[in-house]
């Protein structure tokens, strides 16, 4: 199977379920005008093509750009510069986000011009910039994520007391708008880059920055509302489902292309500028990145055309139509819709892949996907429940929800904390903002006791919250299980330097390859021991052990992550080194050492950083 097929399969698996579900609903429950069905199907096709192309593009452009930027950020000589650069990155990627400007215009209208749209955008961008700086600082000084999130959400709760309900809805919507299709993969790559720079046991730092970022707009908006003190009164406009033909999907391509280009430009310009003065990547890498940027642009344009023109009105139609089914059926159908729709969010696939890579396959993308699906399913079901039960306020769900999330974050492993809060940002992407939002608005529009404005909104906040909890719950299950399964002591033992290696003999040298496996996180200690013994030039790899389906039952409980360290050693010293390394105890285990013969034909042994034999 080649890459093209496997990517197409991956994208089909994420998108087809929701398409079938919508078609199913429109056949069974809601009579839909054939024109709208056709528009939806054409939109689905655009969504499919767009997502596939976009994901290829992100792989080749956002990921390498983010990693380069992270390197630049971490290797600065002054702390102030590092943090200022982090602020700039956060500010630039947010300020150009088209969704944010649209939201700003809505607020400008709602507040009768008291808040200017551009000012709002700049405010939110500054909030994001500030949070990215904090997040980067956290990674660089090795603080746990839970402290940062506890602080951020505590602040949000206090500020929310002083804000009007509309502003709270705006604040969470702004957060959803900033974690867009472009920004999320880029910020994910930045955290990955920062953690790679640190090396060692730094998986915890590969995630969490997206979660940190999404707290920025909430804090900034609420803070502004607290200062402003104005209670805005807004009238909800009645919901109109526009009569559009299939051609509307094609017609949208033009302005969406401009929007996507605007969103991409700041990162691209900053990258090419820094590449010119600093990175100086080779031609191949530049070609890959440029190609990736073009892919991302085209892919995003098609994806957004599909989401905006194909899915958005379908969401309204379904929401309006399903109201007749009664509250119980409505809540169940909402759950299924949320469950299926999240896998079509572009950043979900990016996050899943990154989790899989960083944990060496320990947490796979499938587990991540299921957990997210359950989370978002619950979010949409709760949102519908809130619309049909007028007494249930958004705060009755958000307050205990985030309190639970913060409490859980103090129990589970910090890696899960980072992933969980990232997942919240990732799940509230473009599909949530178009399809799910309009679905909720559709229900609110036709439900007798509901108010489209206050009830329809707030769903983004729920979608940003429930995945955090569902992933933290998985983290907690892992912790509970691993506590009962494993009681082994994983303390780092002091290295015992036993003896030095025999002196090198004169004459032609042969080399052996020493391959050592040990529990993950012990590689740096092993290299230190080997260095003391006189062996240099180690390469460290990260993988998982071979227990395979044997541990499927406990696959989350047992940590199968392993480090794999390679040394090239002169043949006459390899045995002594192996003896010494086997005698060490690192993370509660003796390293497993294997020696492989290096081919000696034609003098082919080793050179470069090894002593040359010629």
């Amino acid at each position: 199977m080649n890459e093209l097929q496997s990517k197409l399969r991956e994208v089909s698996q994420s998108i087809l379920p929701i398409i079938f579900y919508v078609v199913f609903c429109s056949l069974v429950f809601v009579p839909v005008d054939p024109v709208n069905i056709w528009r939806f199907l054409v939109g689905s096709f655009f969504l499919f093509i767009g997502l596939a192309i976009f994901l290829w593009g992100v792989d080749q452009s956002m990921a390498p750009i983010g990693i380069q930027m992270a390197k630049f950020l971490a290797s600065s000589k002054t702390k102030f510069f590092s943090l200022a650069f982090a602020f700039l990155l956060g500010f630039l990627i947010t300020v150009a986000e088209p969704d944010l400007l649209i939201l700003g215009q809505q607020i400008e209208e709602a507040s009768a011009g008291a808040i200017e749209a551009r000012f709002f955008v700049i405010l939110v961008s500054a909030g994001v910039g500030l949070m990215i700086s904090f997040g980067a600082l956290k990674i660089l000084i090795n603080h746990p994520w839970r402290k940062l999130f506890t602080l951020a959400y505590f602040l949000i709760f206090i500020l929310a007391f002083f804000a009007s309900n509309e502003f709270i809805a705006f604040a969470f919507d702004a957060s959803g708008a900033t974690t867009g299709a472009i920004t999320t993969p880029f910020i994910l790559a930045i955290s990955l880059g920062l953690s790679k720079m640190k090396g060692g046991n730094s998986e915890n730092d590969s995630f969490g920055l997206v979660g940190t970022m999404s707290a920025g707009p909430i804090i900034a908006t609420l803070l502004y509302s607290a200062f402003l003190g104005s209670s805005t009164r807004m009238e909800g406009a009645p919901l109109v489902i526009e009569e559009k033909g299939v051609s509307a999907v094609f017609g949208a391509l033009g302005h969406l292309f401009t929007e996507s280009l605007l969103a991409l430009l700041p990162i691209a310009i900053l990258f090419f500028f820094l590449n010119f003065v600093r990175f100086k990547l080779n031609k191949r890498e530049i070609i890959t990145i440029v190609r990736g940027l073009i892919y991302s642009l085209i892919g995003l344009t098609f994806f957004l055309a599909g989401a905006n023109e194909g899915f958005m009105d379908m969401g309204k139609i379904l929401g309006t139509g399903l109201v007749k089914q009664g509250p119980v059926v409505l809540v169940i159908l909402s759950f299924i819709l949320g469950f299926l729709v999240v896998s079509a969010e572009p950043a979900v696939l990016v996050l899943g892949k990154q989790v899989e890579e960083v944990t060496g396959g320990y947490l796979n993308a499938k587990i991540m996907g299921r957990t997210l699906s359950i989370g978002v399913g619950i979010a949409v079901a709760l949102s519908t429940l809130r619309i049909v039960l007028p007494s249930l306020e958004i705060w009755h769900i958000l307050l205990p929800g985030f309190a639970l999330a913060i409490a859980l974050s103090w129990y589970v492993d910090d890696l899960f904390v980072g992933i969980a809060f990232d997942a919240g940002g990732v799940a509230s992407g473009p599909m949530a903002a178009t399809f799910v939002l309009s679905f909720a608005q559709g229900i609110a529009n036709d439900w007798p006791t509901a108010n489209i404005l206050s009830d329809g909104f707030g769903i983004i906040a729920l979608i940003a919250m429930t995945p955090v909890i569902s992933i933290l719950v998985v983290g907690a299950l892992v912790k509970v299980q691993s506590k009962s399964e494993e009681t082994q002591d994983r303390e780092l033992a002091e290295p015992r330097t036993i003896r030095t290696l025999p002196a090198l003999e004169e004459g032609p040298k042969f080399y052996d390859l020493l391959v050592v496996t040990l529990p993950h996180g012990g590689a740096d200690r092993l290299v230190e021991v080997a260095r003391n013994l006189g062996a240099t030039g180690a390469t460290i790899l990260h993988g998982r052990d071979e227990r395979g389906k044997q541990w499927a039952k406990y696959r989350l409980a047992l940590d199968p992550q392993r480090d794999f360290v390679w040394f090239l050693v002169e043949s006459d010293r390899s045995d002594a080194l192996a003896d010494s390394l086997t005698k060490e105890v690192i993370l509660g285990e003796a390293p497993r050492v294997m020696i492989l013969p290096v081919h000696s034909e034609a003098g082919l042994s080793a050179f470069g950083s090894m002593p040359d034999e010629d």
């Binding site: 052990d545 492989l596 013969p597």
Partner: protein
């Protein structure tokens, strides 16, 4: 258990678990699964940038005694004899844990191995160049694994260690091609300069899944 060889299997992403389950009767233990990248050779896909494929690389100690049965199982269950289904090969060990398999001082005789696996460890990002340079000599199909070197303390604003990222490229080739491939790669990658990378080869005992068309694999 008597493990005398390391078996390296390169399979499509997601297939490792299945393969490990099938390998259970053959008593493999203490192995490792790594995430890797294959290089898919196709002009059109290469221009489009779709020539990277996600692979899983298995490193497993095996008992040579079981090898024929394992390889037969690979062909039957995983169709490794067909194109793009994956490859497997074995490398002899000198020592496994405490067991010395070949007495010290004895060099492994390279003459008995027809094939060798060439490893190039280089800076992150140069791995595709390595694959291209090897192809100039007709050696096709490399697999890339990402790793890192040991951290070096640097004097930066934050107290962090910058760990150099490394790529490991490996490819299986005929032993007789090794000398020319070696000098070609040293030349193109300037490996004779310090710090540019390391190149070495390990002898290969046995292989399955190397598609012979056009003189290369996959």
């Amino acid at each position: 258990m008597n493990y005398q060889s390391i078996m390296i299997c390169i399979v499509n992403h997601g297939q490792a678990e299945e393969m490990l389950t099938e390998l259970r009767p053959f008593n493999v233990a203490g192995g490792l699964v790594l995430q890797g990248e294959g290089t898919y050779r196709n002009k059109i896909l290469s221009i489009l940038g779709l020539d990277e494929t996600r692979k899983e690389v298995l490193f497993l100690p095996v008992d040579n005694h079981f090898l024929p049965a394992i390889f037969a199982m690979f062909q039957e269950q995983f169709n490794l004899d067909r194109r793009h289904k994956g490859v497997a090969f074995t490398i002899p060990m000198i020592r496994y844990k405490e067991d010395r398999l070949i007495s010290p001082g004895d060099q492994v005789d390279p003459g008995q191995f027809n094939e060798a696996c060439l490893f190039v460890i280089t800076d992150h990002g140069k791995s595709r160049d390595v694959v291209d340079y090897a192809e100039e000599l007709g050696v096709r199909g490399g697999t890339i694994i990402h790793g890192r070197g040991a951290g070096l303390p640097l004097h930066l604003a934050f107290d962090i260690q910058i760990t150099p990222e490394k790529d490991i490229v490996f490819m299986v080739t005929e032993s007789k091609k090794l000398p020319s491939l070696r000098s070609h790669l040293i030349d193109r990658l300037q490996l004779d300069e310090r710090g540019n990378g390391i190149l070495f080869a390990l002898p290969v005992l046995d292989t399955v899944g190397f598609y012979q068309e056009k003189g290369g694999r996959v």
